[in-house]
Subunit: 408 residues, 2 copies
């Protein structure tokens, strides 16, 4: 993970995450694949913790994802464990992969005295290689001994693969005069595309909330956060978002509690942007706003076509205000468009309107905007009021370097 320099788009520092009462974290260097770094993290959650989850829609999803998915919504009285390893995704590993999940979850259940039905595992890393689950199992007693309510920052490090920085976000809010905390961590920088959370994300709160309410919020907000980012249009077989609400604050919230909703959405948006900011080889953080589409779904189709176009992404890498490629991407997206009603701006600069280059536009203006590390592309289709915003990064030599050499 130290092979590539910290992304130039990374936040200045990892945030100071609040303690979430009822959740304890441990990390360890189990040597599943990587050497000289932590690669396993465990979270112990108190009895009564509600857990919600959103998972990849890939039809080749991994054994741990299938296991996790099946466990969402179970009884909460016995507490729960989340166990994550980096280095091997245990994806496309056949029956042996299922056996690995069973071996790990039953060992965790024994050692942590928690029902296997409340043991949630995730694995991230190489696809299709046998999982050395015995190394994870051998680390469980050590992990148990290290559990600490201050361990979340170390946990964010332990789940990294090609990430160049650990990702965290938090909120502390007031609900009827009482304090509620939210803290989340994420990993992900490649194989990122918008069909579910597209990475590993773990969010914790000390709020007390029904599982069904928590699931509603997490599912809804995933659509406008993690499902609106893309690095390379590729969708992982392992994507998992788990959210745990321990209730340890004693403060009850529901899916209607505005302060909680807003804070959770902000934490999810922040984490999703950090994943784009750590997009493999990224030098530019790009926001794409589409308005005036026939409806919101069509707006998102256009926005994603722009965000996933290799020609748009390489133009951004080359700091070229090549709005012609934006036109091309709109044309191929499959959603409705009228060439002669299109208008496009880069930042505040209108580059094209009414189907042609804007008469006031000068190339120097566009070029100046493209030099910025953060770029906004606005497209108005002039058809109706559908809109969408998605986030992506540029496509650079470093992306090729990382991915032409990942396994060797």
């Amino acid at each position: 993970m130290a092979k590539y320099a910290r992304s130039p788009l990374a936040p200045e520092a990892f945030p100071e995450l609040p303690v979430i009462k009822g959740a304890r974290f441990a990390s360890h260097a189990a040597g599943v694949k990587y050497q000289g770094r932590t690669d396993v993290m465990m979270v112990q959650l108190d009895p009564g913790t509600s857990i919600a989850g959103v998972f990849t829609r890939s039809l080749t999803r991994s054994a741990p994802v299938l296991d996790c998915q099946a466990k969402i919504g179970g009884a909460t009285d016995a507490g729960a464990i989340i166990l994550v390893n980096a280095g091997n995704s245990n994806a496309f590993t056949g029956k042996a992969g299922v056996a690995s999940v069973e071996a790990v979850t039953s060992a965790v259940a024994d050692i942590m005295e928690t029902p296997a039905a409340r043991v949630f595992t995730s694995s991230t890393g190489v696809i299709g290689e046998p999982m050395k689950h015995e190394r994870i199992i051998a680390a469980l007693e050590t992990l148990k001994g290290k559990l600490d309510e201050n361990g979340i920052s170390d946990a964010a490090h332990a789940i990294m693969t090609t990430d160049t920085f650990p990702k965290g976000a938090c909120a502390t809010i007031d609900v009827d005069g009482q304090t509620v905390n939210i803290a989340g961590i994420a990993k992900g920088s490649g194989m990122i595309a918008p069909d579910m959370a597209t990475m590993l994300v773990y969010i914790f709160t000390d709020a007390k909330i029904e599982q069904s309410d928590l699931q509603d919020l997490v599912s809804a907000f995933t659509d406008s956060t993690f499902n609106c980012i893309t690095v390379d249009s590729d969708t992982s077989t392992s994507d998992t978002l788990l959210m745990a609400a321990t209730g340890a604050s004693g403060v009850t919230v529901s899916h209607d509690t505005k302060a909680f909703r807003d804070a959770l959405h902000d934490v999810m948006l922040d984490l999703s942007h950090q994943v784009v900011r750590d997009g493999e080889g990224a030098h530019k953080f790009v926001t794409i706003n589409v308005t005036g589409a026939r409806n919101n779904a069509q707006a998102k189709t256009h926005a994603m076509a722009i965000a996933n176009s290799p020609l748009v992404k390489t133009a951004i890498a080359g700091e070229d205000p090549n709005w012609g490629r934006v036109v091309m991407a709109i044309g191929k997206s499959g959603a409705e468009a009228d060439r002669d009603l299109l208008s496009i701006s880069f930042g505040d600069i209108v580059v094209a309107k009414d189907g042609w280059v804007s008469p006031d536009y000068r190339e120097e203006q566009g070029a100046a905007i493209m030099k910025e590390p953060e770029i906004t592309i606005n497209v108005d289709l002039g058809l109706s009021d559908g809109k969408a915003t998605v986030w992506t990064c540029d496509l650079t030599h470093t992306y090729i370097e990382i991915n032409a050499d990942y396994r060797s």
Copy 2:
């Protein structure tokens, strides 16, 4: 165009194309954008020539494409002209773009004494910049003077943009004891994706064939040739395939003439493969065969998901037999798949079957195959008998170089 070296996947030499009686070609350096090279080509076709066309489905298609499309199927008694320029695509140029097409076609009609309804123009190059059509018009008399039935090879050079080699293919066949010739040229190396011909292609034959029969054949064969290739998943606003049958051989064929069908299909397949072989930055020519899908359409969806995946394409660039990324691409394609019925082979080597790495597979075997310049990936889904084959290339540093720097 001399900026990048000739693709390592290029054919050894441009083929010797047969003369197509009834078709005369001219090329000229009109200086539309490029300096020091030919950039305009004209074809004069005898009265009686049938013309068929297939065009981009982009919703932002260019003014010349819209004009061309509208003219397909018109009366053939007056002959026809095809005029093509490189350097400027006259796409997304608003009303001025339409005026440019009108100016060029009416000037051609005057000088060549051909109805404007039989003047077909194509433009390829940068999107959204004003077209200097006066430079094309100024070259028309010169082009007229250069018309030559041996000029097709020079024409193939004149239409190049980022191409590193000119593309030609031909067939000479026997139809009931008489000779029929087919000769085609193409350009294209980036913005190549499967939603119509995705480039410029001009094919000529001296066979006599009804326009509707010719259109049937060209449309059908486009689906299994040009619509089965992809370089970067991006679809041009200007893609055009025109086929002209002069009838000058006196040999009548129909859409049922097997020798003609087969030869035309082969010429189209050859040209489409040459476009992939000149894919921007390509070092590997990749054939992807999908079998065992629920139906042919789903097989093509899977094949294209593999062919367009940046992670698969960078793995191929890195000569990494990373079949896990093939699994990933199948999982995200949206078409039906059962992880545990999948089998994958690279060339003759079975790498994965029954949802996991093949017990006989050794990494050195896969690595050896990946070193070849031509690679075949076979995927069997084990569901039913749907199948498809598509062709693509790898994603390399040179693609980034070319496209991060195209306009400057």
